[in-house]
């Protein structure tokens, strides 16, 4: 069995902003050909490196974002390079690029240049502020996109003298790439039905703006502004703490504490089992809560009153329990008691987690040039009839130039000439 997109060829002209989009398509079976300048994508220079040795083929960031792709180098500053690129696109179903807004047109490689001879082409352009219009000339990085686009306003600490926080991992680029892929697949279905291609203009700033959950709609609906809080939802009305250091020094989060009497009874029983019930001075409120004839509602919590006090005691009890056991024990202990609490893992903890191991989240990817295999994060979704799969590690610089050019009819002699001229 092969991936859902095994009939698809994609040309990817992306650095850090759009490479994730190419990876998602490639891991779903598309033949994604990554086009890099002869010096290589800038991501090849990003740490960390394999064994901490800087080398274009050893950037773990590049490895992460470029699985299952083939790689070619083409110098698009040269006319001969642009001709090769045009022929490459002619062989493909989709072109994804994250160049500056005017770059493709300057090269004569924009949608209006390519579509007349390739009406089925789906071209996806990922730019900071969209291809045209106000602010399209502005420069951006992941940090500035998240800052200007909304997420940063909602993230940080109760103490507002501390800077608000931008989450790690180039999430702004990933968010934009997720939108690029979702809409590219919509365009693909339209083409499946009609044969018609089209151009998609992905605005990264806009993508952040619609990835802020309640921050946007609280303003749109009620003209209210949410305020950031440590480890929990930014909100108009402040909420109580949810994070605490467990007995082993790791953090846990209670999330939104339970509101059903049966759950409250289980917390009491748990306190009792751990032998710490009497030390928790709000236990009488839990007794009341365990015997309520109704669930505590969100509205009741907002209003204050007895239900709100009980809810406060429930939250405090969970934080209290956490301090007496390990983070993992707290996670499993709450979840097995039907409470939605969590432990705050570092990203690498996930690879060793028993559930993730059993589900096969860790996948092995061979690096023949190093004589080794490494564990990579696996599937974001399971499609059993058309499985997700990392088909190969990220391409070495120019690894498939010969192979791909030969497939589109560039002869051995022509390839030699292109190489000597520094075009490929």
């Amino acid at each position: 069995m092969t991936g859902s997109l095994n009939d698809l060829r994609v040309i990817e002209l992306c650095d850090e902003a759009g490479a994730w989009a190419g990876k998602l398509l490639a891991d779903m079976g598309a033949d994604v050909i990554k086009v890099e300048p002869p010096r290589g994508s800038i991501v090849r220079s990003y740490p960390p490196f394999y064994h901490d040795e800087p080398h274009p083929d050893r950037s773990l960031a590049f490895w992460n974002y470029n699985t299952s792709k083939r790689g070619v180098t083409i110098d698009l500053e040269q006319a001969a390079g642009r001709e090769v690129f045009r022929n490459l696109v002619a062989s493909a179903d989709m072109l994804i690029e994250d160049q500056a807004p005017d770059r493709m047109a300057a090269w004569g490689l924009d949608y209006t240049d390519l579509a007349p001879t390739h009406p089925g082409l789906i071209m996806v352009s990922i730019t900071p502020f969209g291809r045209s219009g106000p602010r399209s000339e502005e420069q951006a990085t992941d940090l500035t996109l998240l800052a200007g686009g909304g997420p940063v306003w909602s993230c940080g600490y109760d103490d507002h003298t501390l800077a608000p926080v931008r989450g790690h991992g180039n999430q702004g680029y990933l968010t934009a790439s997720n939108w690029a892929v979702a809409t590219a697949l919509i365009a693909l279905l339209h083409r499946d039905f009609t044969g018609e291609g089209q151009h998609l203009d992905v605005n990264m700033h806009a993508a952040q703006n619609v990835t802020t959950e309640a921050a946007s709609y609280t303003w749109l609906v009620a003209k209210q502004t949410v305020q950031r809080q440590t480890g929990r939802h930014a909100s108009v009305v402040p909420s109580g703490d949810v994070q605490v250091i467990a007995g082993d020094g790791r953090y846990v989060t209670t999330g939104f504490a339970p509101r059903r009497p049966a759950q409250i009874a289980m917390i009491l029983e748990w306190l009792h089992t751990l032998g710490i019930k009497e030390q928790f001075d709000q236990w009488p409120l839990l007794e009341v809560g365990a015997h309520l004839n109704h669930d505590i509602t969100i509205a009741a919590i907002e209003e204050g009153g007895e239900d709100a006090m009980i809810f406060g005691a429930v939250r405090a009890a969970l934080l209290f329990i956490a301090q007496h056991i390990t983070a993992y024990e707290f996670f499993v202990g709450t979840q097995s008691r039907d409470m939605q609490c969590g432990l705050i893992n570092a990203p690498d903890d996930v690879i060793d987690d028993p559930h993730m191991r059993e589900r096969g989240f860790a996948v092995e990817v061979a690096h023949p040039e190093l004589g080794r295999s490494f564990i990579y994060p696996g599937a974001p979704y399971h499609l059993p009839a058309s499985p997700w799969r990392i088909s190969r590690r990220a391409p070495l610089l120019g690894e498939h130039t010969d192979e791909v050019l030969s497939e589109i009819g560039v002869s051995t002699v022509e390839r030699q000439q292109l190489r000597e001229a520094g075009v490929v």
């Binding site: 740490p47 931008r166 690029a180 697949l185 749109l220 989060t253 994060p377 974001p380 979704y381």
Partner: protein, 410 residues
């Protein structure tokens, strides 16, 4: 001839909150017919957003949840009580005319109602079934339950968001509810393409903890390849981040809780910024990236002093004029009402909701040249489209629908 990209696609959709409802919302904006199915017995209260703040005015109740309305625009709304025998007889008729059945219940809920994938498949052989939950439909944590913050905590997104020597700040909202929606939409669309080629449906098992963990790939590789763990005694500084850039941070600007983000991608951009700062920035330690990284505390302090008495948008304009990435940390009201980019994009379309009236909602950050999105119709009231769907699509008479409504089936 349908004029929208997905006009041929119909989804019977139990998906709620944002992680589920957000996925079908994207397809609906591009023309898919999404039939949101809710339980009349509890007035759709399974989805806590249906009656929750924010509210447009003083009115409350299941038709006034502001978030619910945002996440369910362009959908049809029907009621159906699957706990009743007649409800369970009726549901297969919806499945039979659908391309996708989607839900984000806890694992196993739909199966216990008698509608596991195998049953859905026996009703419609090429059905695509999306189940979306925190830990997936099998494995040791199968019965564990999550929502956005728990998914983020489990996957490393919370730990890696923060300032050094402090608790994790985490994401101040359900970032992974958006993530669940995006990955859910992608998976449904890929499955539709696969079905178009092969005629084959399938059961998509989406575990949002797995999806979230893929967003932390480079950190994971640093562990599996180099043995380096992200966890350390000082925690992370995600504003300085992983990039080889310095300065790269969020700085206080003039005013209360006003901030501006600045990133210098290379030595030339630093020189340009230093030129603005003036004499204090003429420090040979900062000329090259290596020096700026080695003396990062001093460098960031210097930039912070320079921004502290300036308006955040003035800093943004001043540095953008030099080609340096800089952005004011925008409040919701600033990016929604005053940002020329979001306005020109049409990012906040106005819909009409039958009770709330005119409301603006999140738009789509992608424009498509041939089949662009459209968001005009507000979210459905509870059971708003019962007659349109059960009558118009399934051919039931008004009398039948009224009787089933009276019996509590609809």
């Amino acid at each position: 001839m349908p004029d929208k990209a997905l006009s041929r696609i119909r989804i019977t959709d139990f998906s709620g909150v944002l992680a589920g409802a957000g996925a079908s919302r994207i397809l609906a904006a591009f023309g898919a017919q999404v039939i949101r199915v809710e339980n009349p017995a509890n007035k759709g209260a399974w989805d806590p957003l249906r009656a929750s703040a924010p509210y447009i005015d003083e009115r409350r109740g299941h038709n006034f949840g502001g978030g619910w309305q945002n996440h369910n625009v362009e959908k049809l709304g029907v009621t159906l009580n699957l706990a009743t025998p007649k409800g369970r007889e009726l549901f297969p008729r919806l499945v039979a005319i659908s391309d996708i059945v989607a839900e984000n219940f806890a694992a196993g809920v739909l199966a216990r109602l008698g509608f596991a994938y195998e049953q859905l498949q026996s009703i419609k052989p090429d059905i695509i079934y999306l189940s979306n939950c925190g830990f997936g439909h099998w494995g040791p944590y199968e019965q564990f339950k999550t929502w956005g913050p728990i998914v983020q905590a489990f996957s490393g997104l919370t730990y890696t968001s923060g300032l050094p020597d402090r608790a994790p700040a985490g994401w101040g909202y359900s970032y992974m509810d958006h993530g669940g929606a995006y990955f859910g939409a992608i998976a449904m669309l890929a499955a539709l393409h696969h079905r178009h080629k092969t005629g084959e449906g399938q059961h998509i098992d989406l575990a949002t903890t797995e999806a979230a963990s893929t967003l932390m790939g480079t950190h994971i590789l640093d562990y599996t390849v180099n043995g380096r763990r992200t966890r350390n005694e000082h925690g992370v500084d995600s504003n300085r981040g992983e990039a080889l850039m310095a300065p790269h941070n969020i700085y206080a600007a003039n005013g209360e809780d006003e901030w501006v983000a600045i990133a210098c991608r290379d030595d030339a951009e630093w020189r340009a910024l230093a030129g603005e700062i003036g004499k204090r920035a003429e420090d040979p330690r900062f000329t090259m990236l290596e020096g700026r990284l080695a003396h990062r505390d001093d460098l960031e302090a210097l930039v912070g002093i320079w921004t502290a008495d300036q308006n955040k948008f003035a800093v943004q304009r001043r540095l953008q004029a030099l080609g340096i990435p800089a952005a004011a940390v925008q409040r919701p009201e600033e990016r929604v009402d005053k940002d020329p980019n979001t306005a020109a994009w049409g990012l906040w379309p106005q819909v009409h909701h039958n009770e709330m009236g005119k409301v603006r909602v999140d738009g789509i950050p992608v424009h498509a040249s041939a089949t662009d999105w459209e968001i005009k119709r507000g979210a459905p009231l509870l059971g708003q489209h019962n007659y349109e769907v059960y009558g118009g699509l399934l051919g039931m008479s008004d009398g039948e629908i009224a009787a089933l409504t009276a019996e509590g089936v609809l």
